[in-house]
């Protein structure tokens, strides 16, 4: 009986659509009924066949590139994200491959859909989530994601609390991510090697099944710290082999951190005095050597605290303040930090 149904469905558009047009239904597009969609579906297919280029034709890749609007994504990637040269290179390579695949498709060359699942590894605050968001946008513009939305989840969203809870939970998340990008943050938590009955394993199996079977529906990005992701892949070799792109996010250099800080300060509508800039560099140098340094996230926190000190400093002054005072961070706003206190006190004591 199962065999009966698809064959019946498949023969319908061909056999029925002429009859439907013959009945003189309202023009397709405005008609919300099934006939409208089937006719527009047929008209979508016809130009596709026409578009197949002769073998001696030439395709202007630069023009293709401009049409997708991918350059906007790249320029905003360059402008908003400091450093990360290897990451940007890899994204460019992926974009180039997808563009070439599109061009090949115009000649009617069959290309298997590339495996786009990725793994982002790197220290905290190196921009993994930010890049994932850009990636969703880029893949959408290149036509590899139908909707281009990002669904960001962690272990809690995928793994259930009791037997039979995990599979529906994971499936629901996967359904939400269909047509877009599923970003699994701290993915190594999915697998707990100390507990073999952990439900995370069940979640991984469903993920693998969908990553393999429904490649055209969604792209999965796993993110996490390098060493822990490595041990995660060692215990889940199936996952590692299904991920084509392992991208490592390097730590930022001092100069890059400074640039990030300046960018953040500017976005918040503040500015550093030249002396404050010096102090900021000194701050970063000291903070970087301390434990629990989280790259750009630490920079953001430092600026947030500087704003707090700046605000309370202004409140303590009696005289009225102007725009310059409201927007300028002075060295003392940064010098109040614990980073300077520790370092100054330790040589003295």
């Amino acid at each position: 009986m199962t065999a009966n149904r698809p064959s019946r469905n498949s023969q319908e558009p061909g056999s029925e659509s002429p009859a439907r047009i013959g009945f003189g239904m309202s023009p397709p597009g405005r008609d919300p009924s099934g006939s409208g969609t089937s006719e527009s579906g047929a008209s979508d297919e016809a130009p596709d066949e026409e578009r197949t280029l002769p073998p001696d034709a030439l395709v202007d890749l630069a023009k293709e590139r401009a049409e997708t609007g991918i350059d906007e994504v790249f320029s905003s990637l360059d402008a908003d994200l400091v450093g990360l040269a290897p990451v940007k290179n890899r994204i460019r390579e992926i974009a180039a491959l997808l563009l070439v695949d599109r061009a090949r498709a115009q000649f009617g060359l069959s290309t298997s859909r590339p495996n786009l699942h990725m793994c982002f590894t790197g220290s905290p605050g190196t921009g993994k989530t930010t890049v994932a968001m850009r990636m969703a946008d880029m893949l959408h513009r290149l036509g590899y994601l139908r909707r281009g939305h990002l669904v960001s989840v962690t272990r809690d969203d995928l793994v259930g609390q009791y037997v039979g809870h995990t599979a529906p939970k994971t499936r629901e998340v996967l359904k939400r991510a269909m047509g877009g990008l599923l970003f699994i943050d701290e993915a190594y938590y999915l697998y707990r090697e100390d507990n073999e009955r952990d439900y995370g394993q069940e979640s991984i199996e469903i993920l693998l099944q969908v990553m393999e079977g429904q490649r055209e529906d969604l792209v999965v990005i796993l993110a996490g710290y390098k060493d822990r992701m490595d041990s995660f892949f060692v215990s889940n070799p199936g996952m590692s082999s299904r991920i084509a792109h392992h991208i490592d996010f390097p730590d930022y250099t001092l100069q890059e951190l400074e640039d990030i800080g300046k960018l953040m300060v500017r976005e918040e509508g503040y500015g550093f005095t030249p002396e404050a800039q010096e102090t900021f560099r000194e701050y970063l140098k000291r903070r970087k050597s301390q434990p629990r340094f989280a790259n750009a996230r630490s920079v953001r926190n430092a600026i947030e605290r500087a704003r707090l000190r700046h605000a309370s400093r202004l409140m303590e002054t009696d005289r009225p303040v102007g725009k310059t005072e409201l927007t300028t961070l002075a060295p003392e706003d940064l010098l109040g930090s614990r980073v300077f206190a520790d370092q100054d006190s330790s040589p003295a004591s």
Binding site: N9, S35, R146, M178, G179
Partner: protein
Amino acid sequence: MRITQGTFSFLPDLTDDEITKQIQYALENSWPCSVEFTDDPHPRNTYWEMWGLPMFDLTDAAGVLAEVNACRKAKPEHYIRVNAYNASYGKQTVALSFIVQRPSDEPGFRLERQEWHDRTIRYTSHPYAADAPHGRRYNGQQ
């Protein structure tokens, strides 16, 4: 006899591509979709069995279609429909409901007459399929 209930039921059965487009239309109107099945297609049987919970926060039709296909696999000889619910205030009702699978053979309905007092006749329709118990209707298949 072809059962005609829900949207598009007078049209030929929708193909998967057409179903995808309809689901996408519903999702773009932010109507969450759900999948239901039954083997009792009486027109007054409004409450079909749910295939899983309604699916909220979806953006792409592929998720709903995956559930439709899972339901088709489990219930190859049942009626299956997709409902799209409009939750906006003042509506709060099913906005779109259409059949996505029907059994390969639909025997139809018979008219039953009941004699009542004063030579009154009361009529009712009875699906032939409903003579068999649940789960054994339509070619005796699940």
